[in-house]
Symmetry: C2
Subunit: 331 residues, 2 copies
């Protein structure tokens, strides 16, 4: 994660002074420490122009009881469900939720971070693929699905495990030539591990596989071209396809149907997310289900944690496979 | 709308004193008015125990630049989309959005209103069917889809027109025995007008129709029973059904398919909302489309309006019909 140059953090002071973070905190909060430590810390504070006053107003003394939540939008069903459950968890903890549905606007996202730096919110839970988002370490900040760096806790599903699960399910269902299809941010992020898990399971089972990876902004027509390249004499090369999201599964299923193929008879499909029609009805497809309520409560627990030095940097929550019409499951 | 007894409003003072609202406002804000008016207003303030101080801190002097949005949840795609566009509009106006996704919990809803009374937010945009929700007139409050009373502006779609449109479309498509099916709050609300519009168009065209109206909490099995009662010798009495939401259309279509009927060949279906699969893909069914972005921006405009005495009490925005596979449209 890029560091905001204008706002040195307590950790920077610790690094600069060569003094432990806990000791720096004591000095800043006026708790007595050994004289030599105090002098080192004060020197580092001066050198870095660390804003003691801003910190002194600090988190504990100036609670807003509000957490900001950054998501690209609330139209995608996964994001809507996630924000809903974050709201439920925050509410149980006595916190309000400020939602910033950014439409991928980096300026809007950065403004939320500035608000947090000005202590107008107590912390941020953020699902963003904006590579230039700058966050200073002082802010309680939890990232979803994207690993920002060693100082920022990230909460995600076990994407690798989910990829393995999808491949193994297709193989157990009798598929012998698999494909993985993905469209998403080119930025390295946790969801990329879905393909890693898929590949690993295919290799372990010695099953043939192909990958078709597109970046956000690429035309879906490239998927159609890919399918057509692998379609000869009314037969598709693949008998099982794992799609990176349920939404992509929906698009791919439409293309296969247009090509005259029947799902799941001719080709079995598995998506990822566990999206239900109209939010709470049947599953849209056979899928790897994310525990959205658990993801949400974990983010809330971590953003509200007082002791931020001992937070894990990555938490992966278990996923599970669920049948939803697009596979032929044996048991 | 029930009035909160503990918080008399400036309008109550006007009523009690028999003095115009503008004059009451002047007295409260220390602007000179005729002596006799001033005495009357001051007497009413005392009698009602009107909290002058709280008002004096008032809206203009104590902006939070935050609007609270109350919705039942963010899992229903209509609610998610609505809140997304409210966020976009608020953001353009320089406002933040506090979301309260209540899960139909009346205590949570009432707490948001209390926050607004304490000037912790500048206003509320509220989609709630809670009959006991109490709001004092002082708070900028805009209701969606439910008419609270003469002092509270309500923004909704032209539900009556949408109902008419659905019936007329089915009739134009050759249907001769229509049905309307609905499940929802028994509380009188704007969406009930969908059936009024439907009935009115059927009567105008002299077309036979049936209604099946259920209340929230009723089992969907009652819809199945209704359909079976009207199913004889492999034929359904109805050739066109208007469903109160796209979500209900989805359930009804599933029941009809299970009964061996083909949509739209045997029976044409129209929903309401304009829901798209995965938020932005194809329409889920032929439907009456609500302009969610327009609903959102209208709510925002109205909640931020300075002159609250001249707000309309009801704004109905136009809807339009869109084809989505479940009808056989001629032209």
């Amino acid at each position: 994660m890029a560091k905001s140059k204008s706002a040195p953090t307590m950790k920077d002071v610790a690094r600069e002074s060569g003094v432990a973070l806990g000791t720096v905190s004591k000095v800043i909060n006026g708790i007595p420490v050994g004289e030599s430590y105090r002098l080192k810390v004060e020197e580092a504070i001066k050198k870095l122009n660390y804003r003691v006053n801003n910190y002194a107003k600090g988190l504990k003394s100036n609670h807003t009881n509000t957490i900001a939540v950054i998501v690209p939008n609330l139209i995608n069903p996964f994001f809507g469900k996630l924000v809903h459950y974050i709201n439920v968890s925050l509410s149980e903890a006595g916190y309000q939720m400020l939602v910033c549905s950014t439409d991928y606007n980096p300026v809007t996202e950065q403004n939320v971070v500035i608000m947090a730096e000005q202590k107008k919110v107590d912390g941020i839970i953020c699902l963003s693929y904006n590579p230039r988002l700058q966050v200073s370490d002082d802010i309680p900040f939890v990232s979803i699905d994207r690993y920002f760096g060693e100082n920022i806790p990230c909460v995600t599903s076990d994407n690798f495990g989910g990829g393995t699960m999808a491949a193994n399910r297709l193989i157990a269902n009798g598929c012998r030539h698999l494909a993985f299809m993905r469209i998403g941010s080119p930025l390295s992020n946790e969801t990329n591990k879905r393909s890693d898990g898929f590949v690993s399971a295919c290799q372990a089972a010695d099953v043939e596989y192909s990958l078709k990876i597109l970046n956000d902004g690429d035309s879906y027509e490239l998927f159609r071209d890919f399918l057509k390249e692998h379609f000869k004499n009314g037969k598709l090369d693949f008998d099982g396809i794992f799609c990176v999201t349920d939404s992509l599964e929906h698009s791919i299923e439409g293309m296969l149907t247009e090509m005259g193929l029947k799902v799941p008879r001719d080709v079995q499909l598995i998506g990822f997310d566990g999206t239900r029609r109209f939010g709470d009805m049947e599953l849209c497809c056979s899928t790897i289900v994310q525990q959205v309520d658990k993801l949400a409560s974990t983010c809330v627990e971590m953003v509200l944690k007082e002791d931020r030095d001992n937070l894990p940097t990555l938490v992966c929550l278990p996923v599970q496979y669920a049948y939803g019409r697009t596979t032929i499951d044996k048991t």
